[in-house]
C-alpha cells in the first residue's frame, strides 16, 4: 500500500519535477558551464577561462550599478506598491457590491504590455508634453529620464502601477478571510475605529502581506522591459539592472560566458537578499506576535 502511494506521489509530482528539470536544473548547470568559458554559443571552439568572467564582473562598474540599483528600486517600489495595494484592498473590501469587478479592473495593468506602458510614459514625459509645459510654466523644469533620481522614480512608479492590482487581489483575499466577529469582539473591548487597522487588520493580514512583500522584493531583481524601453539603463548606469546587464552582455556584446557569470552572481545576490528579507519579515512578525 505504501509503495503504491509512493508511486502515486511521484506520478502526481512528476509534472513539476520534469518542469524544474527542464527549465531550472539543466539551464542552471548549462549556465555554470558557460560561465567558466569564453564561448559565445556560436563559435565552433571556446576556451575554459576559469573564474576570469566572475572576477571581471566583480570589477565592472556596470555590474556594481546593477547590484546597488536593485536595492534603490526596492526602496522606491516596495513601500509604494505595498501602501497602494493595501489602500486598494481596504477600499475594495469595504464595497457593498461589485468587488470582483473592481479587483479585475485594478488587476488589468498587470496584464498590460510593459512595452506599451513604457512608450505611453515616454510620451507623457516628453519635453513638449502638456505635463512638462505646465510644469515649466510654474518654474519646474524636470528632466525626468535624464537625471538619475527621477529616472529611478519613474521606473519605480510604472512598476508600482503595474503590480498594485495584483497585490491588492492577494490582500483582499486576506481581508476577506478575517472573521467579522474579531472586529465585533474588539469593539466590545473598546478598540476605537482609528486603532482597528493597526491592532486588528494588519496583524491578521500579515500572512498575505508577507506574500506580497516577498513577491515585491523579488520583482526588483527581474526589472527589464521598463528600463530597456525608457532609459536603456541610463543616465550613466543609474537605472542599470541585473537583467539589463545580462541582456547587454549576452545579446549586444555576444559575451555569453561573461553574461552567464553575471547571471549567476545575480542569482546569488537574489537568493541571499530574499533569504535575508524573509528572515527580517519573520522576526518582525514574531516580535509583534503576528505569527
Amino acid at each position: 500500500m505504501d509503495q503504491r502511494n509512493n508511486k502515486l506521489g511521484w506520478l502526481f509530482a512528476s509534472p513539476y519535477l520534469i518542469y524544474s528539470l527542464l527549465f531550472f536544473f539543466i539551464p542552471l548547470i548549462w549556465s555554470i558551464f558557460l560561465s567558466v568559458t569564453d564561448w559565445d554559443l556560436i563559435a565552433p571552439t571556446f576556451n575554459v577561462v576559469g573564474f576570469e568572467n566572475f572576477l571581471e564582473a566583480l570589477r565592472s562598474p556596470s555590474v556594481h550599478a546593477a547590484f546597488w540599483n536593485t536595492y534603490k528600486f526596492m526602496m522606491i517600489f516596495v513601500p509604494l506598491v505595498t501602501a497602494l495595494a493595501i489602500g486598494v484592498a481596504v477600499l475594495v473590501h469595504g464595497l457593498p457590491r461589485f468587488k470582483g469587478l473592481f479587483l479585475i479592473g485594478f488587476f488589468l495593468p498587470y496584464l498590460s504590455s510593459g512595452v506599451v506602458s513604457a512608450l505611453i510614459v515616454k510620451g507623457l514625459l516628453s519635453y513638449t508634453s502638456p505635463v512638462n509645459e505646465f510644469l515649466r510654466g510654474i518654474g519646474l523644469d524636470i528632466n525626468w529620464l535624464g537625471s538619475p533620481l527621477s529616472a529611478l522614480f519613474v521606473v519605480g512608479l510604472i512598476l508600482a502601477w503595474k503590480f498594485t492590482g495584483y497585490y491588492a487581489l492577494i490582500l483582499t483575499s486576506g481581508l476577506e478571510s478575517i472573521d467579522k466577529e474579531v472586529y465585533e469582539a474588539a469593539a466590545i473591548d473598546g478598540v476605537k475605529d482609528g486603532q482597528r487597522f493597526w491592532r486588528i487588520t494588519l496583524p491578521l493580514l500579515y500572512p498575505s502581506l508577507y506574500t506580497t512583500l516577498i513577491l515585491g522584493f523579488g520583482v526588483t531583481f527581474g526589472i527589464f522591459t521598463e528600463v530597456y524601453q525608457l532609459t536603456g539603463g541610463g543616465p550613466g548606469n543609474a537605472t542599470n539592472t541585473w537583467q539589463m546587464e545580462i541582456f547587454k552582455q549576452a545579446f549586444s556584446n555576444m559575451q555569453v560566458g561573461y553574461a552567464s557569470a553575471v547571471a549567476l552572481l545575480a542569482s546569488v545576490a537574489t537568493f541571499i537578499s530574499i533569504f535575508a528579507i524573509r528572515k527580517i519579515l519573520e522576526i518582525w512578525g514574531k516580535r509583534n506576535g503576528w505569527v
Binding site: 479585475i104 529620464l145 541610463g234
Partner: protein, 444 residues
C-alpha cells in the same frame, strides 16, 4: 464573496501565467532541415528585415526566381525582433536553426559573427565577383573589405546620412539656405535662441545623451567623418582616430551646449514639430513624414545637407557616415544551399530594375556606384527629388567599423566623451583623451 475572491485570484493568476508564457510570436523559427531533398530541390531560408516593405520585396524576388528555377525553393520570413533582430540571429545560430542567408546585417554585427566563424566569406564563393561586377558596386564595396581581406557582407543599400534643416524656421532668422560650417551654425544658434528662447533648439534629440552604441552613428560619426575627411577612426584592432578633427567636433558640440542650442531630453518628434531645426535624416523617414507630417516638403519647409565642417574647411569635401546593411550567407548552410543562395543573389542583382524597384519601395539607396548616372534609377529620383542628395553622396559615405567589439567601443565614445560633452561634464580635449585611452585599453 469569500468564495469569489479566491476564484478571481485563481483566474487572474492563470491569466498571468498564460500571458507570461506567450512570446507573442508564432510560426516557424528558421530552417528545419533545408538542404537538398530527394527530388533534387534545394530549399533555402531567407530572413528579411523585420519590416513589411522589405519582406514584400524579397518575397517578390523569391517568387520570380522560383518561377525560373524549379530546383530551388526560397522560404522568405522576417527576422524576429525578440527583442532585437541581432539577438534573434544569435539565438538561432546557437540553437542550430539559422537561416541560409539574411539581410539587414550591419558591418559591426557581421564582424562579430565573422569572428565566431558563423559567416561564409562571400568572396570565396563562386559567382561573387560576377555579382560585384554586374551590379556596378566595385567602388562602393571596397571599404567593406574586412581586416582579414575577406568580404562577409554584400551591401544592399548605403545611406549617406544627411542633416536636415527646418528651412521655414531658419528663413525667419534671415537665412536663405542652411549654414555649412561650425562658425555659421553657432551664429544661427545665437539668433535662434534670441528669438525663441526655450521653445526652440538647434539640435533637439534625447539620443545625444544616450550612450547606446549605435546612436553614435547618427551624431558623432556623421560630424567626425566630415571633419576628418572620412578617417576610419578604428581600423581592425587599432585606434586610428584623427585627434584634431575629433577635438574640433567635440568643441563644436560643447559650443552648441554653451549657447543652449542642444536639448538632450525626451521629446516627441522634435524636428518634425519644430522644437529642433537641425537633425540627422535618413531616407526611411520620408514615408513616415508623408503620412504623419505632410507639411514637411523638400526645399520648402526642410532642406538636406552633408554634415557641417570646421571653419576653414571646404564644405564640398564633407564626408558622412554610411548607414548601410547587407546580405550574409551563414556557414551552417550546406554547400548546395550556399550555391543556391549565391545564384539567387546573382539573379536579383543581375538586373538593375530590381535595384530600382527596391529603391522605389524602400527609399533606401542601392549600394551601387552608378546610382546617380544609371537611367534605371532616374524615374525614382525624379519622382522623389529628396533622394537625390543621398544618391549623389553614396561615394562620400564611410561604413561602420569592422571590429567585433564595436558595441563596447562605440559605447565608450559616448560614455567617455560625446555624452559627457553634451552634458557639460568634461572639456572637449579631456573627453577625447579619456575616450582614446579607454578605446586603446578595450582594443588591447
Amino acid at each position: 464573496m469569500k468564495k469569489r475572491v479566491p476564484m478571481v485570484l485563481s483566474v487572474a493568476l492563470m491569466a498571468g501565467l498564460l500571458s507570461a508564457c506567450s512570446t507573442g510570436q508564432g510560426g516557424q523559427t528558421g530552417s528545419e532541415g533545408g538542404g537538398e531533398s530527394s527530388d533534387g530541390v534545394t530549399t533555402i531560408e531567407f530572413w528579411a528585415a523585420p519590416n513589411p516593405t522589405q519582406q514584400a520585396f524579397w518575397q517578390e524576388m523569391a517568387d520570380a526566381y522560383e518561377a525560373q528555377n524549379g530546383k530551388v525553393k526560397i522560404n522568405v520570413s522576417a527576422i524576429k525582433e525578440s527583442p532585437t533582430s541581432e539577438a534573434s540571429i544569435q539565438a538561432a545560430l546557437a540553437a542550430k536553426s539559422a537561416p541560409t542567408m539574411s539581410e539587414n546585417i550591419n558591418r559591426g554585427f557581421a564582424a562579430q559573427l565573422a569572428s565566431s566563424q558563423a559567416l561564409v566569406p562571400l568572396d570565396t564563393l563562386e559567382g561573387f565577383d560576377e555579382i560585384v561586377q554586374g551590379r556596378s558596386m566595385t567602388q562602393t564595396i571596397e571599404p567593406w573589405t574586412f581586416a582579414d581581406g575577406h568580404q562577409y557582407v554584400l551591401p544592399i543599400y548605403s545611406n549617406p546620412m544627411l542633416f536636415g534643416w527646418r528651412l521655414d524656421i531658419i528663413r525667419d532668422l534671415g537665412y536663405s539656405e542652411p549654414p555649412q560650417t561650425y562658425g555659421e551654425i553657432l551664429e544661427l544658434t545665437k539668433k535662434l535662441k534670441a528669438k525663441h528662447g526655450d521653445k526652440k533648439y538647434l539640435w533637439a534629440k534625447p539620443d545625444l545623451a544616450d550612450p547606446t552604441a549605435w546612436k553614435r552613428w547618427f551624431d558623432f560619426y556623421m560630424l567626425y567623418d566630415a571633419a576628418s575627411g572620412g578617417n576610419k577612426f578604428i581600423e581592425g584592432d587599432a585606434f586610428t582616430g584623427d585627434e584634431k578633427a575629433g577635438v574640433e567636433v567635440l568643441s563644436f558640440v560643447d559650443d552648441l551646449r554653451k549657447e543652449k542650442g542642444l536639448l538632450a531630453r525626451q521629446v516627441t518628434d522634435p524636428f518634425e514639430n519644430g522644437t529642433g531645426v537641425f537633425t540627422d535624416v535618413g531616407p526611411w523617414t520620408f514615408t513616415t513624414w508623408a503620412e504623419k507630417y505632410p507639411n514637411l516638403k523638400y526645399n520648402e519647409t526642410y532642406a538636406l545637407t552633408m554634415p557641417p565642417v570646421p571653419d576653414g574647411m571646404d564644405p564640398a569635401d564633407s564626408k558622412t557616415f554610411a548607414d548601410t546593411k547587407g546580405l550574409v550567407v551563414y556557414a551552417s548552410a550546406t554547400k548546395e544551399q550556399q550555391a543556391a543562395a549565391i545564384d539567387f543573389i546573382q539573379w536579383v542583382y543581375g538586373d538593375a530594375n530590381n535595384d530600382a524597384a527596391w529603391f522605389e519601395k524602400t527609399n533606401l539607396p542601392p549600394a551601387r556606384d552608378d546610382l546617380s548616372t544609371n537611367e534605371s534609377f532616374q524615374a525614382v529620383l525624379d519622382k522623389s527629388p529628396q533622394l537625390k542628395p543621398y544618391a549623389e553622396n553614396v561615394p562620400n559615405a564611410v561604413p561602420p567599423m569592422d571590429n567585433a567589439k564595436y558595441n563596447d567601443l562605440q559605447t565608450i565614445i559616448g560614455t567617455e566623451a560625446f555624452n559627457k560633452v553634451v552634458k557639460g561634464e568634461i572639456a572637449p580635449a579631456e573627453g577625447w583623451a579619456a575616450m582614446k585611452a579607454a578605446l586603446e585599453k578595450a582594443l588591447d
